[in-house]
Each structure stands twice: as C-alpha cells, then as structure tokens.
Amino acid sequence: MAVFLKLSPVLIDKKPELITGKFLSQPLPIKPFSLINQYQEDFNKEDLQNKWSILFFGYTNCPDVCPTTIYKLSEIQKKIAQKKELNDQLQVILITLDPKRDSVTRLREYLAFFGPSLIGLTGNDSEISKITSNLSVYFEQVGKGDQYDFNHTASIFLIGPEGTVIASFSPASQSQELSQDILNIIQ
C-alpha cells in the first residue's frame, strides 16, 4: 500500500548568504542622538525607523575611499529605487566625522554632486560621538593645519525598519555584489 505523506511546510527564518558583509549576531538598537541634515533639519533615531537605511561615516575632504564609497552607494540607491515596491524605502546617510569643516552648507554642496536623495548629517562632537560609540566606529585625526585627514572605520552599516543595525559590509566590495546583498536582505 502506498503511503503518501503530506508534509506541512516548515517556516524557517533563514538569512541570505552575504558575499560582501556579515550579519550582526544580534540586531543592535540605535541609541538616541541628535544631528542635523544638510537642509538644517533635525535628524534623530526616529528618522531611522520605518525604512531601511545605509549608513556610512566619512568626511568631505577625504580624497579617495569616501567619494568612492559614496558614489557606489548613490548608484545602489538609484538602482534599488527603480524597483517600484522599494522606491522611497531606502535612505543613504553619510555622517561626518569632521563637523569642524563639514558645515551644513558644505555637506549640501558636496552630496548634491553624488545624488539628490543622499542625506548628510553633522552636529556637535558629543552628538556624533553618541552614534560612533553606539556602532563602535573608530576615528582618529591625522595631520595638522588645514590638510588633516582621518583614519576611520569605513564599514557600511545596514539599519532595518525597526531602527536596529542588522548587517555591515566592506567598502571595498564590488558595487554589483554589494547591491545584490542589500537587495537580498530588504526584498
């Protein structure tokens, strides 16, 4: 006698394999902070909720890695925005590590070059320290005078709609692979 087994579907919350980054072992909640965007508007942890956010730390005088990463992220944002169901569901944010030079005006002019949808955040040192400490972002000024630079954590963070960091990615990733990893998570 043939026996037919009807197997009930088993729901498994399986995370996609990432090529360019890694999931955090536990989602990391964002603690309160108070910064302003390039349009002089307040931006705080509530603005990271109900949509996906890609977060990167840098500074506008950075000549190599930061513009490379910002360009890459702006292209990824445009690509993802082409998907109707994801349009306006993803924001890309640069938080400056150099508030002394990166004024609201400078951030506005700088980011406009890469794309109209990018968000730039600045503020006072203590507020920037709140979020860098929260995400264990290292930064150190090197050099003196007007031409100083920063050594800094260059990871790209993905924050989910609940306002928690869920994954980080390498800035050296290929644009295509990074884009696919992010799409695999947010779709």
Binding site: T60, P63, D64, P67, Y71, V142, D146, H152, T153
Partner: protein, 144 residues
C-alpha cells in the same frame, strides 16, 4: 616592394617600444564636488625597461600640491599615508586605484568638471637616467 613593406613595419614596431618604456596608462581623475580641496588620480604605471625608477616629484596642472598616497583598509579601519619613497621595479607594473595607491591632488586652483583633463607630469630617475611621463588624465565619475 615587399622588402619596403617589411622595413616600414619594423620601424614602427621599434618606435612603439622606445616610446612606451615608462608609462601611465588609462589615467583618470575622479570627479569631485566643486568645493573639494583634494582629488585623486589613478591609472596603470608600467615600467618596461631593465632599470628600476624612483619617483622624484609629480606636477599636476591646476593644483598647488601633489603627493603619492596609499589608502588601505585593515580590520575595517581605513587609513591613508603619504609614500615618501616610491619605486617602480624593472619590468613591472603598479596599479594606482581607488582604495589603494593613488596620486593625491591638493588645493585645486580652478573648478574641474567631468570632461576636463588634468595634465600630469611624473618625474622619475634611475641610477643613470631621468625620465618624465606626461599624460592628460580625463576627469570621470568612475573608473574607465
């Protein structure tokens, strides 16, 4: 007639080698917002000679200062440093690329737009001769 044809081809071939012994190929400068104080130039540096060459200095049209820098990402930390000594060994290549070695162009004296170009002069010396690479690096949004 046949002899003449082969003679011409040989001359062109020899000329090509002598011109290409130290070169910067596929050079480009990353486009930057108009308020940028620093830009970066990239390309493939080739030394097809039997001698190693040291870079003495770089000049870039429209910029006050230029340096060779190296960016690197180690354990997620991005750092950058000036390379005071830069040598290209005999018969070797060095890629100048985003996130790696690059020519840092400091303090632009004009606004550079996509489609403009920057004249780069790279001065090298070996133990017995000096050479200059001269290229016009186009300003592009991304690597060619």
């Amino acid at each position: 007639m046949k002899l003449l044809k082969y003679t011409v081809i040989t001359l062109v071939f020899i000329s090509d080698i002598s011109l290409a012994n130290l070169s910067l190929e596929n050079s480009w400068v990353r486009a930057a917002p108009m308020n940028s104080t620093k830009m970066s130039a990239y390309g493939l540096l080739k030394n097809n000679t039997m001698s190693s060459f040291n870079l003495i200095r770089i000049e870039a049209s429209g910029f006050k200062n230029t340096q060779i820098h190296q960016s690197q990402i180690n354990k997620e930390i991005m750092s950058m440093k000036e390379l005071k000594n830069f040598t290209i060994e005999a018969n070797s290549e060095i890629e100048l690329t985003p996130g790696g070695k690059h020519i840092m162009l400091q303090s632009p004296m004009k606004i550079f737009k996509i489609g403009d170009s920057v004249e780069l002069l790279l001065f090298f010396e070996s133990s017995y001769e000096e050479k200059v690479i001269r290229v016009n690096a186009p300003i592009k949004r991304e690597a060619p």
